[in-house]
């Protein structure tokens, strides 16, 4: 309780002094456990990308926008595999603790931008008193659970985040925010996203609100995708 109060105080103080720096761009680099995937024809190439794939998180006051930042190599199959492994498919816009993003084009049975998917922030963070220095900033550890859809259905997975109260932005990479400080490092499903660069100020045009033909909740979208995949499989087996 004492720790929480202290963190809140630090966060509020830094927040009040940082009004001029409300636009910030953070570069995250992807790292992953190399023995996480079974050996196959792609393994060597995927492992070579460890520590090379990058994301950018743009924060403008109460809005964030997260997207991959790999230039020409974004269209490279191995880059796409690493991005997919990190649970990224499309740019993610966040406002009022709601994440908005389009349906994954990898699933070809829906049209491009057919769906605008909405996912709520997780709210089960547990802040610990463990701390470490990341890029010269004192950061604290927080843990939570999120969920994904697998062949077995909805499955929870643990998340470990390190946030820095001295960086008063309650945002982070991918679908993770809502901590009293910028998330500098996050680990989930054998992936780690580590903040490797922070820049102040950027062109606001970099933040793009995604649009889709139909709005849908994250859980409903996954059920829909499962349904269509099941129909495709049925028809394939009938041939």
């Amino acid at each position: 309780m004492k720790l929480l109060s202290t963190l809140f105080m630090i966060f509020s103080l830094c927040n009040s002094f940082a009004q001029a720096d409300r636009k910030v761009a953070i570069t995250y680099t992807v790292f992953f456990a190399e023995d996480d995937l079974p050996p196959n024809v792609y393994s060597h190439s995927i492992n070579q990308k460890n520590g090379e794939i990058k994301f950018k998180l743009f924060i403008n006051d109460s809005i964030s926008f997260f997207l991959e930042d790999n230039g020409l190599s974004s269209s490279d199959l191995i880059t796409k595999i690493v991005l997919a492994k990190a649970k990224y498919s499309n740019p993610i816009y966040c406002s009022n603790n709601e994440f908005l993003f389009n349906n994954n084009e990898n699933f070809i049975f829906f049209k491009k931008n057919e769906y605008l998917i909405s996912k709520k922030s997780i709210d089960n963070w547990k802040i610990t008193d463990e701390s470490k220095i990341i890029d010269g900033q004192l950061c604290y550890k927080a843990t939570a659970t999120d969920h994904q859809y697998t062949v077995e259905g909805k499955a929870a997975f643990p998340i470990e985040a390190w946030f820095c109260p001295s960086l008063p932005y309650n945002f982070g990479p991918l679908y993770y925010n809502n901590l009293p400080g910028l998330i500098m490092e996050i680990s989930y499903l054998s992936n780690k996203l580590l903040a490797t660069k922070i820049e102040y100020g950027f062109d606001e045009k970099k933040i793009v609100i995604p649009k889709g033909e139909k709005s849908i909740l994250f859980d409903d979208y996954n059920l829909k995708e499962e349904q269509v995949l099941s129909e495709v499989e049925k028809e394939y087996n009938r041939r």
């Binding site: 196959n40 199959l77 997919a84 498919s89 990898n106 699933f107 495709v232 028809e235 394939y236």
Partner: protein, 109 residues
């Protein structure tokens, strides 16, 4: 002579009705494929809608799921690569065409 004419007429009538039945079956199968409501028809719709490249996507997806411990995200990513490669090839051959409808011999009486 009369017997011959009678037999010929009977045979023509018999063959004619068989042909008419077959045409009706083919027409009804085509009618189904045009979108009348039945679960069979919806399945035919899906079958007709699935192109050669859609099937490539699906088979690649299934194989990739096996290779990557049922990781759907990775599997769909690899499947898309195969799909796009297929589309590029088929565009050179006249386009990514829908799968062919079942041939007449496959139609159950």
């Amino acid at each position: 002579m009369k017997k011959f004419i009678f037999s010929a007429v009977a045979m023509i009538a018999f063959v004619g009705s068989s042909v008419a039945n077959n045409i009706a079956e083919v027409r009804s199968s085509v009618e189904y494929s045009k979108g009348e409501t039945s679960s069979e028809n919806q399945n035919t719709q899906m079958l007709l809608r699935m192109t050669k490249c859609d099937i490539i996507w699906f088979t690649t997806y299934v194989n990739a799921m096996e290779q990557f411990n049922n990781n759907k995200d990775i599997a769909t990513s690899i499947a898309l690569g195969a799909f796009q490669a297929c589309v590029e090839v088929t565009e050179g051959d006249g386009g990514n065409q829908p799968a062919q409808p079942p041939v007449q011999s496959e139609i159950k009486p």
